[in-house]
Symmetry: C2
Subunit: 109 residues, 2 copies
Amino acid sequence: MAKDMSYKDKKVITIGIVRDLTGLSERQIRYYEERKLIFPERSAGGSRKFSFTDVELLMDIANKIEDGIQTHEIRKEMLREQKKQNQDEIRRKMIQGQLNAQFGIRRNS
Amino acid sequence: MAKDMSYKDKKVITIGIVRDLTGLSERQIRYYEERKLIFPERSAGGSRKFSFTDVELLMDIANKIEDGIQTHEIRKEMLREQKKQNQDEIRRKMIQGQLNAQFGIRRNS
DNA sequence: CGTGTAAGGAATTCTGACACG
DNA sequence: CGTGTAAGGAATTCTGACACG
């Protein structure tokens, strides 16, 4: 049922490692979280946990910042992409629903 | 040239996360390293860094320990597998070498 | 706006050792 | 042999704030 995440999306990397992986400062990483560009999870004790996807996203963000794009703009971009992907998802499911209605239940929702 | 490791083999997970992921105690994890069953890397400050592959291996190890197999046996098993894989690798390269000699250089060593 | 930094505290990790069995 | 635990210290991470611009 629930999308069961590959390694790439598992939140298991602490901020120090992310710093080493991206070359960004911890300050920058925390700031981008504050601006809602990334969403690390938390350990029981409160430490941030990132995924490889987050690491890649951070590098994209860093590039855009260097190009002078503001975090607010980056966030809006990301929301637009998110919205588009959601719509594609809905469309896909509707088409699948049509097929199911005509030809019966199929595997792979 | 150098095998460029997928996410699965990157050493980026600290011991606390590995503990949560495997259900093992930190003591057990450190002990299996001491017995040369796993080989975490180290951060600049000395903290262990594991990969997802290590995490999976640890779960296999834990199962074998439960079955009463000793760490020394597990290590020998692993060395045997390692050896076999190396031989397969050599064989593969030799065959590829033969092909190259007869039909010229090909992509994908 | 984006980032550096010093501050103080809490969580994390490390090693070597004693214990049990 | 494999694992728990208390011990002391060092490395890691956290938050809120001041600074600059």
